[in-house]
């Protein structure tokens, strides 16, 4: 094969972001004094020199076609100053130097279908994964779930009426690439993988698959005269860890792969230490195109939290105050035996006290 045409990469790594910074960001770099929020979706930062900058935040669909990106660029060039940034939750921010630029920018964004919000005590855009659009191991879709939920939660995105900020995530398998959140929606498989024994020997490195299982439920076996794998189904807890290294371990099941809801994850150190989220519901059907049953549960939890949470209480702070019995009572969610942890370290999750709310 002719190698002459191949270009060697310039191993440039992370580009210098100075070339992309709004001039006021460069001028006041490391010298900001405070910020406030004149209205939902707008951050107003003031520096020690007295300089001010307004950032207008809008929701996007994350997976954007080039026409959408160009529309956002047109808006940035005409109504802002040609600089944008993205947040960790795929919101876009436009920076302007004067207060009078804010309203026309908001009007143009809304006119083009980009909701302005996602700041302060709002429900922000959902951190999510790839799903059926691009992942090789998804139990469900991601973009579609997010679109459906954000359609339902749009008012909470555009206002700041929750007790504190609400971060959501979705994940299409139990690896949970969507990550920890105040409320997360994650695939929960309920049946052990179905093994395609004809393919295992060709496709899988069997010792690696055996080593991958968290409960040592997989062992090598000869099936129909071919080297394959077998599962001790009494041990298997259906996590799907064997599926990525060995696609013939088919874990995804259109009917038996369900969706679970988790609450109370928090990465910030504010008030209490960071927390992991806890499973509070499962068994919800994986129902495209709008996952209506999931939306009902999510909206219910959020509305109870909105009504019952005190100012500055994140989901985890709220539950700390009211306790889990009241969480299940107020949300009406059934507390089943599957919600009692039996994984390593689980004793720490039991009530090791006589602290009980009656």
């Amino acid at each position: 094969m002719a190698q002459t045409a191949l270009r060697r990469p310039v191993e440039s790594g992370v580009p210098d972001n100075k070339q992309f910074l709004h001039p006021k960001f460069i001028k006041n770099y490391g010298n900001w004094k405070y910020h406030d929020r004149p209205r939902p979706g707008v951050l107003h930062h003031v520096s020690h020199t007295g300089d001010e900058v307004w950032s207008v935040r809008a929701g996007t669909q994350r997976q954007m076609d080039v026409y959408t990106i160009r529309t956002l660029c047109d808006i940035a060039d005409k109504y802002a100053e040609g600089f944008v940034r993205f947040t960790i939750r795929s919101n876009i921010e436009f920076m302007v130097s004067t207060a009078k630029q804010v309203d026309p920018l908001i009007a143009e964004l809304e006119k083009n279908g980009f909701p302005v919000g996602g700041t302060g005590n709002s429900v922000s855009m959902i951190a999510h994964t790839q799903g059926w659009l691009h992942c090789d191991i998804p139990g469900t879709d991601a973009s579609g779930v997010v679109k459906s939920l954000m359609d339902e939660l749009i008012t909470e995105f555009k206002t700041e009426e929750m007790p504190n900020r609400v971060h959501l995530s979705t994940s299409c398998c139990e690896i949970n690439c969507g990550g920890q959140a105040d409320l997360a929606i994650i695939v929960q498989h309920t049946k052990p993988p179905k093994i395609n024994h004809d393919q295992v020997a060709n496709v899988c490195e069997r010792p690696a698959v055996v080593a991958r299982c968290p409960v040592a439920a997989i062992r090598p076996a000869m099936v129909n005269g071919k080297p394959s794998l077998e599962i001790d189904e009494s041990k298997c807890m259906c996590c799907g860890a064997c599926y990525p290294p060995c696609p013939p371990m088919q874990i995804n099941d259109p009917e038996n792969s369900k969706l679970a809801i988790w609450v109370g994850g928090k990465n910030s150190n504010a008030r209490g230490k960071p927390t992991f989220m806890k499973m509070v519901a499962s068994g919800l059907p994986n129902n495209p195109p709008r996952w209506t049953e999931v939306g009902v549960v999510v909206k219910n939890i959020l509305s109870v939290y909105k009504k019952d949470g005190k100012p500055w209480e994140r989901m985890s702070d709220w539950i700390d105050r009211i306790g889990w019995p009241q969480f299940f009572e107020k949300t009406g969610l059934p507390f089943t035996k599957y919600l009692i942890d039996d994984w390593r370290g689980s004793r720490a999750s039991l009530n090791q006290s006589a602290h009980i709310r009656f």
Binding site: G13, T68, V84, F86, L133, C135, P311
Partner: protein, 434 residues
Amino acid sequence: MAKKQHDTPQLDQLESGPWPSFVTGIKRLAKTNDMAVDLMGQLETSYQTKKGYWKGGTVGVFGYGGGIIPRFTELKNDKGEAVYPDAAEFHTLRIQPPAGMHYNTATLRKMSDIWEKHGSGLIAFHGQSGDIMFQGATTANVQPAFDELNELGFDLGGAGPAVRTSMSCVGAARCEHSCYDEASAHRTVLNNFLDDMHRPSLPYKFKFKFSGCPNDCMNSIQRADMAVIGTWRDNIRTDEKMAKQWLAKHGMDELVNDVIARCPTKTIELKQIKNLKTGKDLSSVAINDTQALEINNKDCVRCMHCINVMTGALSTGVDKGASILVGGKRTLKIGDLFGTVVVPFMKLETEDDVEKLVDLAQRTIDFFAENALEHERTGEMIERIGLVNFLEAMEIEVDPTMVAHPRTNPYVRTDGWDDEVAKIKAKKQAGMGA
């Protein structure tokens, strides 16, 4: 003009409603791009059967071993041909973002032009690891697309058992809470590990994340093998004018219930001005003519809550730097792990300071490469060998900031106790003599 679009009754239902629709976006692309037409066909099939149809493979660019996510369709007819042939290859290029994810429109337009020419026209800002994901290229088009993006000043990110693409918060560019130059640390550290990013050969992935303060907007503690979280050692700064403005606007109930009562260590007190104490560890600020807040900074854990509520009136100190936490990760294989403190405070002001961070990262990755089992993350390795063994290999002294509390069981061999005490005493004396 592209070929005729497929019927997509399920996906069509995702075009209504107020949130921006990715379906409408892909349909726009499908007017001129056959790959987008067939992507819609395959995705609609997934919506109808509730199954995914992509498999991985091996696709790369010349000179690198990772950074492309290959996708080949598994949706085949009886003859083994792709049902949607123009999306039979649908690879993603992971491209590293600039720190803080800042862009100018000229760059975004050039990226769009490149991807319209070589790919599907679908770009995600950003993936969960922080990459700009250029989604949907044929095997043949991966190299020319990368070449043009690389000429634009961008480089591939990580995939597989490698140092992965990193993220940092908006930081010093716009945030008053910034405790170090996040962008500089992000860029300097990552660009030191490009070989480990582009040529995957570690036991498993290794992620860095950079947050400028303990609000940890990058979620580094739950996601990063090495989390760099800004903090400060001196006293919370105060601004009397803004404190008085805050009280005038919010009132005493909010001050008591939302600020003072929510301090996790109860180190903020409401006092009569005449009763304020003075001392090197105390911050105080008048909130009206008779009353003031007093904070004993020795008992402050730098949680950020009061500063978040009263931004401007209260702010971070000036002796700034970062805490380094190691071992965060999500579920597989042993369950979720938070990062835990290995360096309580590190200055990150000068190039030499940042070099020390690079050195710590280098030694951590070297140790990880030699000692982790295959597919074992750093946190799992530390869980297996114990934190002390890790610290000794890193030549880091133990420190009570590294634990929530000392051990609660006697299952430890302590015959080296006297030697350890002697070492600590000798060090203390040497420190006092210096």
